[in-house]
């Protein structure tokens, strides 16, 4: 079933929407949740929460592509879970490593304008990622959106792990310069 048909099921409030979503995107969302949570029970709960969030979002939302839509929901729900467990820096998987790698890029301090800054940062990060060369963007998103290990990214894209490491290093340097120029860090 294509995405438009599945979205139509949500709009029609048909329970088949969840079944079709599970069939088409269950493995994808579980993979995203697992990379962060590293617990079968937490992963299943997170994915169930993602289906509920999708059910509540449609209508009146109508995403053209369900993969990024569900991916974002699942990723953020998993991050929320880790945050609640105070496990962002102590959890399993590659997340602690990713945070360490990105630590130089994270704006410090807190301010009354934090919410506005977060929105502006999100927009800037999106533009940054969009401007990366395709190969570099795939590696960057594999690491910092999907939280795959260097070896996994290398295996999936047919690279040597060393090449993945150096591509990520270059991307982070570019990101840091970009955020410095715009005053975020």
């Amino acid at each position: 079933m294509d995405d438009a048909e599945i979205v139509a099921l949500y709009w029609q409030r048909s329970e088949a929407a969840i079944a079709e979503t599970e069939a088409k995107y269950g493995a994808y969302c579980r993979a995203i949740a697992w990379q962060l949570l590293c617990s079968r029970e937490d992963t299943e709960e997170c994915v169930d929460d993602a289906w509920l969030a999708a059910w509540n979002a449609m209508p009146d939302k109508r995403p053209a592509h369900l993969s990024p839509f569900l991916g974002r929901i699942t990723r953020n729900l998993a991050l929320n879970r880790l945050d609640k467990r105070h496990s962002l820096r102590r959890g399993g998987g590659v997340l602690p490593l990713c945070l360490e790698e990105l630590s130089g890029c994270i704006p410090g301090g807190s301010s009354p304008e934090e919410a506005l800054e977060a929105r502006e940062l999100a927009e800037r990060l999106r533009r940054f990622v969009d401007q990366l060369p395709k190969a570099e963007r795939r590696v960057f998103l594999g690491r910092y959106f999907y939280f795959l290990s260097l070896e996994e990214i290398a295996a999936r894209l047919g690279y040597h792990p060393g090449k993945v490491k150096s591509m990520l290093y270059r991307s982070r340097q570019k990101l840091l310069r970009c955020l410095q120029e715009e005053g975020f860090v």
Binding site: D2, A4, E5, A8, L9, W11, Q12, S14, A17, K24, Y25, A27, Y28, A31, I32, A57, D60, K61, R62, P63, A64, H65, S67, P68, F69, G71, R72, I73, N76, L79, D83, R89, C98, L99, C105, I106, P107, G108, E114, A115, E117, A118, R119, L121, A122, L125, R126, V129, D130, K134, R137, R138, L141, G142, Y144, F145, Y146, E152, R156, L157
Partner: protein, 405 residues
């Protein structure tokens, strides 16, 4: 800013995420069809028109035997799927792959009974006309809800006066403060009336049900005009239509093992409706799904234990009566390497001759029965110690001469 906030802010456009997910093999494990809907419709239209004008392709020899199954135009439109050690599935494009139909022959043997051949050709011609009519009469949502170019996300909100505001965005993102997904980079805002909103809901409902009641959803009948046209074509070409599907499986409450009824009961019921006598000489070990139409079409998904290894072989069979309007796309199988298949014939205990295509991992088979075209797939053969014998066992368990009413 907290680490959590930064990670959530680290996002990308839908296009970038889709591209990365596909490149990394994180998409759904088995895409339903590798082609976008519109392109597949055109491919089939071309193939169907050729079939109807020039005659269904006749083949003199069954080499490699796949031509009867291979959907025209689908060669190269497939993926290899490989299981990685961590359980994930890696998808890569397969130039030697293609889509195989189990419900309609894509090519006919030269020595086929001409009474059967004309029915198959009529179905192809009727389908070509039906597709052409659907292209000329598209079923669409109201103009106001049709997304403009570049839309990746839209949302609708009701206004106090009963009208609706429809906003179209290029993309979407997670808004931490709002706690939900919001649109990004507004393209256009429109206002819809109550009537347009209701029409859009109706459109969504019809699409959600994959068509209006009374017709198999594979026909794509969305309104009364479409129903009228389909009935006209069926009458013109002397074809039956698949109407309401009856599903026999434990999940539906129909007879099945989970409802206290036995697998034997389910086979009996399916055989009563679609065969002249029991479908199997030897019942399978498990039935996952079974369904049939009143005109005699049926499909069955089941498992049998391989005698040599005890491992489960997954089987899927379809029976498609001659003279039923069919696209051949009701059940498509994607194969990554068509060159891996070797062709042979097999004669079942009841004398039915089958063409068998075997790759070591998977086998396809098909036969021209008296009343229907019967095709199937056997998977899981890679785990068998004697795969050829396993294929023979599966085929010999089916009572082919009983199929059809």
């Amino acid at each position: 800013m907290t680490s959590l906030q930064f990670l959530k802010a680290l996002d990308a456009d839908d296009r970038a995420l889709l591209d990365a997910a596909r490149a990394l093999g994180l998409t759904e494990a088995r895409p339903a069809l590798p082609l976008r809907r519109k392109k597949l419709v055109r491919t089939l239209l071309i193939a169907a028109v050729l079939l109807s004008l020039l005659g269904v392709t006749a083949y003199a020899a069954d080499f490699p035997g796949l031509r009867a199954l291979l959907l025209p135009g689908s060669q190269g439109m497939a993926y290899h799927a490989a299981d990685l050690p961590d359980g994930e599935r890696l998808l890569t494009e397969a130039p030697d792959g293609g889509m195989l139909s189990l419900t309609q022959p894509m090519a006919l043997p030269e020595d086929l009974d001409p009474r059967i051949a004309v029915k198959v050709e009529n179905s192809a011609a009727a389908w070509a006309e039906w597709l052409a009519w659907k292209e000329a009469h598209p079923f669409e949502e109201p103009e106001v809800f049709r997304p403009p170019e570049g839309t990746g996300f839209s949302e609708t909100a009701e206004n106090p006066d009963g009208s609706y505001t429809v906003a179209f965005y290029e993309d979407s993102r997670w808004d931490e403060q709002a706690g939900r997904i919001v649109g990004v980079r507004l393209i256009e805002v429109r206002t819809a009336t109550e009537e347009e909103y209701a029409a859009d809901r109706h459109y969504k409902e019809v699409m959600g049900h994959l068509g209006i009641a009374g017709y198999d959803h594979s026909y794509g009948v969305y309104d009364e005009a479409g129903a009228e046209k389909l009935e006209e074509l069926a009458a013109k070409y002397g074809l039956a239509l698949r109407r309401e599907r009856t599903v026999l499986s434990p999940q539906t409450g129909e007879p099945g093992p989970e409802n206290g009824d036995s697998l034997e009961t389910l086979v009996e019921l399916l055989s009563e409706k679609t065969c002249s006598a029991p479908l199997f000489n030897r019942n399978p070990d498990r039935i996952d799904h079974a369904s049939y139409f009143q005109e005699g079409s049926f499909s069955l998904s089941y498992s049998v234990a391989d005698a040599s290894s005890g491992e489960e072989l997954s089987c899927y069979v379809c029976s498609s009566p001659y003279g039923t309007l069919s696209s051949g796309m009701e059940m498509l199988e994607m194969e990554g390497d068509l060159t891996a298949f070797q062709s042979r014939t097999h004669t079942a205990p009841d004398g039915t001759e089958l063409t068998v295509l075997f790759s070591g991992e998977t086998a396809y088979f098909y036969t021209w029965l008296e009343k229907s075209y019967f095709a199937g797939r056997i998977g899981g053969l890679g785990r068998s110690a004697a795969p050829e014998a396993a294929v023979t066992a599966v085929l010999d368990a089916i009572a082919f001469t009983h199929i059809g009413v």
